[in-house]
Symmetry: C2
Amino acid sequence: LGREDKLIKLIKSLTGEELIGDDCAVLPSGMLVSSDMLVQGKHFLLPQMNLNDLGWKALAVNLSDIAAMGAQSEFAVVNIAFPTSMSDDEFEHLYKGIIDCAKTYNCRIVGGDLTGSDALVISITVFASSPQKPMLRSAAKAGYKVIVSGDFGASAMGLQLILQGQLADATASHVMMKHLRPKPRLLEAKELHTACMGEGALMDASDGLADALLQIAEQSGVAIQVEASKIPVHKETVSAAELSGKIALRQALYGGEDYELVACIPSDALKVCEESGFTCIGNVLEGSGVRVLYPDGSEEVLSRERIFQHWI
Amino acid sequence: LGREDKLIKLIKSLTGEELIGDDCAVLPSGMLVSSDMLVQGKHFLLPQMNLNDLGWKALAVNLSDIAAMGAQSEFAVVNIAFPTSMSDDEFEHLYKGIIDCAKTYNCRIVGGDLTGSDALVISITVFASSPQKPMLRSAAKAGYKVIVSGDFGASAMGLQLILQGQLADATASHVMMKHLRPKPRLLEAKELHTACMGEGALMDASDGLADALLQIAEQSGVAIQVEASKIPVHKETVSAAELSGKIALRQALYGGEDYELVACIPSDALKVCEESGFTCIGNVLEGSGVRVLYPDGSEEVLSRERIFQHWI
């Protein structure tokens, strides 16, 4: 277990709280609540990242947690700690990015706190009404299909290019856009939730596809088998990986920050989900563990050891 | 206007959002939401402050915003960014302080985010059901009485003693306790709200008594007149101020972080509120501005210039 997991276990035992949930807490009233912090130097670099993109991303990663429950975004509270050296224009540029994202996804910003600090920290809390049957990570069953939205590994390659010195420009390429202005999959989540009538497991792959598959398998008590050749990887991710001497599939499995949906759904809902843009990558089986099958017939057992971690 | 006020105006104009409110946002469902961040070096000093006290205070200041609406605390989401040098024991010490406060005030911790950072940042969001008639800052009327809970200036003197090198020990004195482990006035707020049946203006004096009086006067379009001799100041605040060469009444007006309630209520509710421990310090009049009357007959007009600010 990583340190974050260890401390979350500590918190759960100290609080004795059962409402601490998956991507979101579910309050007794049916309200979903989720909260994420972005810290300069840990989650983003300045000045490499454009403040407008950063604002967008800070809200988008929170809305992705709402999508991961099959819900729709409604309200957000935005706390910002920022250096007093940041000018009013820079602050406005940052805040307009948050508002761009909020307007795009019908989320209302209802409050927040501003304070000074040495490093920029953005802490956002989002609220939504829970669907009647929220889709938890623990709801996968043998016989279900494993499906994903979008493509994987692009965000990690976008970050790689920025770290190599390329200008962080969301309009420059697919991989840059995926890293700098990720799109929370709220619409896709809604279509998925409708197609499955709430049956099945769902989460967003903020820490990578491998992490998402492992979490669903562990929490549902099932095995998951996926085919490497079916994992969607964008052609720009492949060429950026080649240029950097990386293997695109490794980035797809372990790269993190793709904010795509990963779901295990009853097979009779598959066709509708595929029409909504989801890709089927494998099957849920009896047993435990996550295996990736390669075209040459070899097999890889995924392990927690390599999981993407932002923060240590 | 301070920079915070200026940026809040900018945010309100950028979002066009009407739900951004007083101490809390009021969601259409009737849910109250409030959020505050505490940043190391801005709101607290380490190692001078005990981590357990800090955890208590981080939640208490948020619950004070709930009290300021006349509501009761229900749920909290706790985000913590902390240096990886912090040990698991230190983290537990901090978190136990948050839980102490949560249990004392019947607040359930339902989620949160943990991340790394250079400085410790605690960002908490609290939720509560709005009373049928929440008490806003804009609801004071001429003829109302001005009342306050507890006493003022103590927290500022506690901080002063710590800055002078005294051990930060919440059990050492009233002024230390008020600075290190402030008590959100949830019970008093409930009694006040019942006594007034929601009529009147209410807020918490997180930025000092002067700030609270000025905000209520401005937002209600009234004048407020208070008697200096009636402002409650604890005897330890008086002696600590004398020892530091400060004037206790200045600390009471401008010191900040007392987290006491300041209200303007119909006079027929005064007696019940006094029985609940509130002190009447003055009257609401037609006009504008806030005046303090001194025993020698002189008068001081309060100004925004001197208001306590954490963060600039």
